[in-house]
Every structure is written in structure tokens, then in C-alpha cells.
């Protein structure tokens, strides 16, 4: 694999935005879907930027994930192909969610050009809110430390980001921007499609450079992340295995279902667990209380989490939006990552990795899942 080595001018962000703005000038894309800092300066919003002056306040790697990018893209493509050519610049976990949603017919990728970038993680929303200016500064350090190849992840990012093992590209993107490997002096534009090569050739990029520095950079971080991931998961296991432990873990859940509404993979029009189908006649709850001695109300709190887990474990991309949004700081994303890893392993499925790989739920194999058979 080859790429184009691009020298960094001012900052990685400025370098990337500069190229994108040229792409708009040359009308290679009609619009760019990119996070832009809101006028108040305390958050970022997804914007379809047609006017390149908007790119001045855009961020290729914003310090926070306010809205998962796949949700933004779905809102403009879920009814079918757009008539504008959109380039979407997103974090790898957002891209992966995009791929999953396209398999679920919630995103139409025709006319969409996907660009991903190596991701150092994001800051927790709660920390950010306390002082956005400080957040911007500390995130600069996060990026620097990441590109410098410091094997220890920066502790100021969200815990789930510190165990992320898919922070680099997926084969399903058109173009990946690698920022690892060259200490921020150079970045790598790595095309995955011929379309990417043609478009960026017009901007003077030629994809002939060796990218082994980037690959080595990724490998270094990956090694450390994988180690940390299994360590964290092993520590988490005793806290959540078994119904009693799970009940304890979710005991302070306030049933707000925010984890579901921010989740990019929860694509249902109405969540099953918000529907009347799970609301039983009041007498039922009285009866349950009578037979069990007590019942916690509103009922079925744990059922919601278990249900959501079973619905989306195979497509969970570990973006952490759920945990970031949880007002009670429940380790939702970390718990889900534990379940997701094992379920995805079972079907040899990596969500968001390839458009061709069908969703496991839709594939019928006569000879599979012997793991769940009773001996």
C-alpha cells in the first residue's frame, strides 16, 4: 500500500483543512460534512459546509464527540442517494457506524466520499463542559502525545477511548489520513478507492510514497491499546458477570434511555423498550411484586440494557457515545465493548470493516454456534 506524504504546515488540522478547502475550490466535492465550532465556542456541530470560509472554524479532530457523525450523515442520506457529492470527514468509529448503518439501509453511500483520520480519542463531555478553553488546550496536548507515539494513552480522554483498538482506518473508507508515525511533521493521505486517487490527484497529491512509517506508528499504539483493552476488560468482568452484578451495575440507571438515543447503531424509529409492547397491565407488576416480595419501578430497567446489548452487540463500534452521555456515569460503553468483542468474535465479524460482509443476523449457516448448544 502506498500513500501521499504531506508536510504539516502550522498544524495537522490546518494542513488537512487547507487541502479540503482546495477540493471545494476545484468543486471536487459539493459539500463537506465536518464538525464546526459553534459560535459560542463551547461545542461542535456537524455542518454541511458548502462555503469554504466555514472551514475556518471547522475541526478535523474536535476535542469532543457531541453527536456521533454517523447520525449526522444518516439524517441527509437515509431516504436514498443525495444529489450533492458529500465528503464526510469523521473519526474511525464514526465511519464504522456509517458502514453499519448503510448495511441497515439508514445511510446511502452513493455520492458520499468517506474520509477518516487516526484518532487519539476525545475528551469526556462532562470534563469539557467545565472549561472548554482549557479543553481545547489539553486536547492539543493529547494529539501531540498521540503523534509522538507515546505508548501510554493520555488519561484525559474518555476511558473507552484509551482501550480503542480501531483508532485507525477501515477498508471501507475512500481515503484515510494517517497522522501517526512521523511525530506530526508529516501526515499520510492513504487512498482506498480509485475515486480517492483521481480526486486527490487533481489537488497535486500523488500516491507513490512509502507509508511504512505510518504503519509502524499504528502498530506501536495498537499493541499498547490491545494490552490495555484486555486488562480493562478483565478488571471489569467480575463487576458485571451474572445477573446480580449486572443489577448492581445498572442500579443507579435513571431510565432516561439517553444511551439509546445517542447510539448511532440504535436506528429504530421507536425503541422496542419504549414501546407499548413491553408495558404490561399494571396488575402484572403487582402480581410480580407479590410473588417476588418486591419490584423496582419503573420496571424492566435491566431488560432495557440487556435488550439493547443483544440488539446491537454485533454492530457496536465502541464509539463511547452512550457512556459519554450517561448522566449517572455508568460504564455503559466499557461493558458493551466486553459483550461486543465476544459476540463479534463468535461470528468473525468486525463492524464497519467492509461493506461486503453481511450482518451476521442476516446470514443463515446450518453449521454454526455450537458454542451455545447444551452438551
Amino acid at each position: 500500500m502506498k500513500g501521499a506524504r504531506v508536510a504539516v504546515k502550522d498544524s495537522i488540522e490546518k494542513t488537512v483543512l487547507n487541502i479540503l478547502s482546495k477540493a471545494i475550490d476545484k468543486k471536487l466535492f459539493d459539500v463537506i460534512l465536518i464538525p464546526i465550532m459553534v459560535p459560542a465556542g463551547d461545542s461542535y456541530a456537524w455542518v454541511l459546509a458548502q462555503d469554504k470560509s466555514l472551514l475556518d472554524s471547522a475541526s478535523s479532530l474536535p476535542p469532543i464527540m457531541s453527536v456521533q457523525g454517523a447520525k449526522a450523515l444518516s439524517s441527509v442520506t437515509r431516504m436514498g442517494k443525495t444529489n450533492k457529492k458529500i465528503a464526510a470527514l469523521m473519526r474511525p468509529c464514526e465511519i464504522r457506524a456509517v458502514i453499519e448503518l448503510s448495511k441497515l439501509s439508514q445511510i446511502e453511500l452513493d455520492n458520499i466520499f468517506l474520509i477518516s483520520m487516526d484518532c487519539p480519542g476525545v475528551l469526556p463531555l462532562k470534563d469539557w463542559l467545565k472549561d472548554p478553553t482549557k479543553g481545547i488546550n489539553s486536547f492539543r496536548k493529547v494529539i501531540q502525545r498521540f503523534v509522538d507515539g507515546d505508548p501510554e494513552p493520555d488519561q484525559s480522554v474518555r476511558p473507552v477511548c484509551t482501550i480503542c483498538h480501531r483508532f485507525y482506518d477501515s477498508s471501507a473508507v475512500d481515503l484515510h489520513i494517517g497522522i501517526l508515525g512521523k511525530k506530526g511533521e508529516y501526515i499520510f493521505f492513504i487512498p482506498h478507492t480509485t475515486q480517492a486517487e483521481t480526486i486527490f490527484a487533481e489537488l497535486g497529491l500523488s500516491f507513490k510514497d512509502d507509508i511504512s512509517h505510518w504503519q509502524n506508528g499504528v502498530d506501536e499504539v495498537l499493541k499498547q491499546r490491545k494490552k490495555k483493552r484486555s486488562l480493562v476488560q478483565e478488571e471489569l468482568k467480575p463487576e458485571v458477570i451474572g445477573l446480580d452484578k449486572l443489577l448492581d451495575t445498572f442500579s443507579n440507571c435513571i431510565n432516561c434511555h439517553i444511551c439509546q438515543s445517542v447510539c448511532p447503531i440504535c436506528y429504530c424509529r421507536q425503541c422496542y423498550f419504549d414501546s407499548d409492547k413491553v408495558k404490561q397491565p399494571p396488575d402484572d407488576y403487582l402480581m410480580r411484586a407479590e410473588s417476588k416480595g418486591n419490584i423496582s419501578l419503573p420496571p424492566d430497567k435491566i431488560l432495557f440494557h440487556l435488550g439493547r446489548m443483544s440488539h446491537m452487540a454485533l454492530s457496536c463500534v465502541g464509539c463511547g457515545a452512550c457512556e459519554d452521555a450517561c448522566p449517572m456515569s455508568i460504564k455503559v460503553a466499557q461493558i458493551f465493548s466486553l459483550i461486543a468483542d465476544r459476540s463479534q468474535e463468535l461470528f468473525n465479524y468486525i463492524p464497519g470493516e467492509s461493506l461486503e460482509e453481511p450482518l451476521p443476523l442476516r446470514v443463515f449457516e446450518e453449521d454454526e454456534l455450537h458454542e451455545v448448544e447444551t452438551p
Partner: protein, 555 residues
């Protein structure tokens, strides 16, 4: 109207009565809400039992019915019919299986009784949520699609076609007759194939009620017994939609590829042929060696690929005898040796055929570890002696195996294949030409190796099945317990569409929602199970109904 539920417990002779304390069950459920009457009966499925049930429903003015008896697989339909006769909507009834799921599997009577009580309670908890589903009637299409224009397909078509039943015969090659066209004569009578086949092909071609498509392919089939829609790609590359009530698969066989066993020397040495190649040479009157000379010594090698395929192909021994006759008729002095591992010539006529052939001076040698070299065959005799047999021509009789497109067809028709890849019959003895899909039948070598006589018997069996089950003018009652998809809840992910085994769901591109075709839906529930939002649900197995039942069963 006030609900009045009747509960009937069947003793099933001693089957249930001996291991479930029925009186105890009656005692518990009698006091449950809305239960109007609880009774026991010796054998509810008997004529007497059904009469009693009908009278009881009417006398007591029951609005819902729970029967605790055997498996729904056995008698649900029986009791639903009684409900109908008694004027009660059959879907306001629930059958509880206390035989297979209690009496037969739990040794301890007390535990079996406890579980039976629990199940009856669960049914009573479920039944208030039952909806009186309405039954519908649709026309049953008598027409037939026959796939494969070999002897089996031809025979089936001729038997079925008539003024009120059209047959569509789809053949992938450019001619009818299949492999038989190249056989000069048929064993054991040695009558000319032409006489039999030409006549039949003519009848097919002249029939007003058979539409033949050659160079054609079936591209898709959806539907079920009485209502299939097939897409046929014709020789002119048109795609035609054909509506039929049943489908017959008579796609024949392919030969095992002898190059897979190098020691047979096929395609390595000259003058080594497969049986079908030899039939063709014989038909063309040109049984000659590569050098243009007539053969002097010929070996017929039996059982080629039998071990690899794992079965006897049933026809090779008899056509090998026929080959010997062909050869002896053309070259009276030719030496013919049959090398076999096991000889299989069963039936009332083949023994004589075999003995007569042998009497003509044809050799039969039991041989193992056959290896074909240039003009010589090396083998081991029964007593392990190594022998060399000089021959100038070899005929291999490769195993009969499923035709190369069998898997594709099986997937399209949603019928199963057996472990060897042949289309699987519903039951080896009880349903030899039926498949796992009602309305789809298999005949001839598509189902397994067999001779022409047996293939024709199967064609006749299929015709009998179709003629007796799909009578023109007959109405069909499609399943009332179908799935439905809420337009308001569906977000159009189309997961349901992919898991539907019956092609019964389509996607409305404008509304961007999945829609169920209620005629095609068989109520399997795959869509309901896979729909994450619950937009798809199955009538009579709704979330509430199942929840209520489970809650009570687990209480």
C-alpha cells in the same frame, strides 16, 4: 359480552391419565377467572370426543377454549375444525401439550401434574389476548412448472397436462429428451430408445396444454402450494412470469468426473471413455479406436467413483450389460471384460439379462485396485493376485451425481439437499417424491440414482400427488396467523426481508417500509424475531400473548 372459557383435559387413553393427576389439575384451574367449565375426557380426538366437544362448546356458550392434550402438531388442526363446526372462531382456542411435554417425559407423577397445571394456567393467562383471526380463501392454481426436459420431466408433463391444467416445461438445453437421446437401446429389453422417446417428445410438442421452453432457465420461484410465481428466462432472453400451483424438479444428474481418480487414466490415455461418451459413439455407429480400427478387446470398469461418492449408482451394472450386448452385436468376436467390485442386478428381469449376456462369452471379473495404463489394465483378483489385462479400449462407468446446478436450484426453491447433494425427499418411505416445501416435488435422478423405469414410476407418483391435491377450482385457505409490519414503526432496514424464507416480504420504495404479502406468508415468525423495533409481529404469537404465557408459566 362476558367471557366464558372452557377447559378440557384429554386423558389420551392411559397416555396422559396415568402420569398426570387430572383431577388435581381440574381443581386448581376451576377457580381461575373467566373459567366457565372444566372437564376431562377419555380421548378428545376420537369421533366421540369431538362430538362431545362440539356439544359442550354450544351448550355452555363458550367464548374461548383451552384444551390440554397432545402436541399441536398432532391435533391442533383437528380441534380447530371442531371449534369451527361449533361456531367458535378457531383462533380463540389454545392447545396445551401435556403429553409430550409433561406425561411422557416426567417420571414423577406429582411433578408432571404440577407442570401440567402450570401450562394450563399459562394458556388461560394467554387466551384472553387471542384475536378471532378471519380465515380467507384464495384460488388454487392447477398449473404445473416442470423443471427438466429429460424422460422424467417429459413423462410428468404428459401425465399432468390437460384442458384444465397447463404444464410449463423448462429445459436448459436446446432439446427435449435429456441424456436418453443418446441411448440407442434400453436394457434389459434392448428395445429401441427412439420408439419410446420420439413418440413422447412428439406428444409433448403437439400438446396444446404443454408450453415448452428450451434453452431456458428458472430464475426464481416464490410462493407455496397452489400459488407459486416463477420467473423463467426463455431462449429469447425474455423474463417471463409464470403462475403455477406446483413445481416438479426433474433435473436429472451429472456423471462423476473420472479425472478425479488419476489411476483410471481418463483424459491421459487414448481410448478411455465414459459411459455417456460410449453411448454416443454407439449411437453414431462409430465404435472405433483412435487409430480408426475397430476394438478387439474392451474392458468395462464398474463402480468408478463409488467409494468417493459413498453410494452405488444403481444403473451402471445393468447398462454395462447393455454395452456388452451393443459390442457383441457389432463385433461378434470382440472380447468384453467387466471389472467390478460388487455386481448389482436386482429385480425380476435383470438376472436373466445378466446370465444371457454372460453366456455370450462376456467376462465378469471381480477386481480391486484397478489401474489403467497404456492398453493394459493392472488389477488385483479376489485372492490378491496381481493381474494384467491387455485391452485396446476402456469404458468407465462413473457414478451418478447431482447435477451441477442442484445447489443453486435448492436454494432458490428453498428445498433441502441430502448429504450427497441430491434433492432430499420429505421421507424416504412415506414421502419419496415430496420435499420440505409443500407443492414442490422431485422425481428421477434429481432425487438419487435410479433407472428409467423407476424414474417413470416417480413421475407417475408426482402426477398422482398433484392430481389428487390440486384439483382445478379448489380453494386454498392461506395461513391466518401471518406476520404484519407496522408502517408507523418500520424504519426500512430490511432485515426482515433478508430472513424471510418464503419471499413474502417486499420493500415499498416510496414509503420506505417493508410490507408483508399475506398470501405468501407462512407465519414462521423469522421477521418478528429479527425486527429490533417490534414493527414486525406475528398474529397469534404477539409479544403480549407470549409474554403473558411465559409470565404465568414461570410464576
Amino acid at each position: 359480552m362476558e367471557e366464558k372459557i372452557g377447559v378440557y383435559i384429554c386423558e389420551c387413553g392411559p397416555n396422559i391419565a396415568e402420569n398426570v393427576d387430572i383431577d388435581k389439575v381440574i381443581n386448581v384451574v376451576s377457580s381461575l377467572p373467566s373459567v366457565g367449565i372444566v372437564e376431562r375426557h377419555k380421548l378428545l380426538c376420537s369421533e366421540d370426543g369431538k362430538k362431545f366437544l362440539k356439544q359442550s362448546i354450544q351448550e355452555h356458550g363458550l367464548t374461548r377454549l383451552v384444551i390440554a392434550a397432545c402436541s399441536p402438531k398432532q391435533h391442533e388442526a383437528t380441534f380447530m375444525k371442531v371449534c369451527e363446526e361449533a361456531g367458535l372462531n378457531p383462533h380463540l382456542f389454545q392447545l396445551v401439550n401435556i403429553r409430550e411435554q409433561c406425561a411422557w417425559i416426567i417420571e414423577d407423577k406429582e411433578r408432571a401434574t404440577d407442570r401440567a397445571t402450570r401450562y394450563v394456567r399459562a394458556a388461560l393467562r394467554r387466551i384472553p389476548y387471542h384475536q378471532p383471526l378471519e380465515k380467507r380463501e384464495i384460488d388454487c392454481n392447477p398449473d404445473v412448472l416442470v423443471i427438466g426436459g429429460g424422460i422424467t420431466g417429459i413423462e410428468t408433463s404428459l401425465l399432468l397436462a390437460g384442458p384444465d391444467r397447463k404444464v410449463y416445461l423448462v429445459e436448459k438445453t436446446s432439446f427435449l429428451g435429456g441424456k436418453l437421446r443418446e441411448f440407442e437401446k434400453l436394457a434389459p429389453g434392448m428395445e429401441s430408445t427412439d420408439k419410446l422417446l420420439k413418440h413422447k417428445i412428439k406428444n409433448v410438442e403437439e400438446s396444446e396444454n404443454i408450453k415448452v421452453f428450451t434453452n431456458a432457465e428458472v430464475k426464481g420461484v416464490i410462493g407455496f402450494l397452489g400459488n407459486f410465481i416463477a420467473v423463467v428466462k426463455t431462449g429469447e432472453n425474455e423474463e417471463l412470469e409464470i403462475k403455477v400451483g406446483s413445481v416438479v424438479v426433474a433435473t436429472g444428474f451429472d456423471l462423476f468426473d473420472p479425472t478425479k481418480i488419476p489411476r483410471y487414466g481418463y483424459s491421459k490415455f487414448d481410448d478411455v471413455y465414459t459411459s455417456l461418451e460410449f453411448e454416443k459413439m454407439n449411437l453414431n455407429g462409430k465404435i472405433l479406436l483412435k487409430n480408426g480400427q475397430p476394438p478387439k478387446s474392451i474392458a468395462i470398469i464398474h463402480c468408478v467413483g463409488r467409494e468417493e461418492r459413498g453410494y452405488c449408482s444403481a444403473v451402471c451394472c445393468s447398462y454395462s450389460l447393455k454395452f456388452a450386448r451393443y459390442l457383441k452385436a457389432r463385433f461378434p468376436d470382440v472380447k468384453v471384460s467387466n471389472l467390478y467390485t460388487e455386481l448389482s442386478v436386482p429385480g425380476k428381469v435383470y438376472q436373466k439379462f445378466y446370465e444371457e449376456t454372460k453366456a455370450m462369452g462376456v467376462d465378469f471379473i471381480r477386481a480391486r485396485e484397478i489401474e489403467i495404463k497404456e492398453k493394459v489394465i493392472k488389477y488385483l483378483t479376489e485372492d490378491e493376485k496381481e493381474q494384467n489385462l491387455a485391452v485396446d479400449m476402456v469404458i468407465l462407468t462413473p457414478a451418478i451425481q447431482p447435477s451441477s446446478d442442484a445447489s443453486k436450484l435448492a436454494e432458490m426453491l428453498k428445498i433441502s439437499q441430502d448429504e450427497k447433494g441430491f434433492f432430499a425427499e420429505e421421507h424416504e418411505k412415506l414421502g419419496p417424491v415430496s420435499t420440505s416445501m409443500e407443492g414442490i416435488f422431485i422425481a428421477g435422478c434429481a432425487q438419487g440414482p435410479r433407472n428409467i423405469a423407476d424414474s417413470i414410476i416417480q413421475a407417475e407418483a408426482v402426477a398422482g400427488k398433484i392430481l389428487s391435491s390440486i384439483i382445478p377450482g379448489k380453494k386454498l385457505e392461506p395461513e391466518a396467523r401471518t406476520s404484519e409490519i407496522s408502517e408507523a414503526l418500520c424504519i426500512g432496514c430490511q432485515t426482515c426481508l433478508e430472513v424471510c424464507a418464503y419471499g413474502a416480504i417486499y420493500f415499498d420504495e416510496i414509503k420506505r417500509v417493508s410490507v408483508v404479502n399475506e398470501i405468501l406468508c407462512r407465519g414462521c415468525g423469522n421477521c418478528a424475531a429479527s425486527c429490533p423495533s417490534g414493527a414486525a409481529s406475528l398474529k397469534h404469537f404477539t409479544a403480549t400473548q407470549i409474554h403473558q404465557e411465559v409470565v404465568e408459566a414461570l410464576r
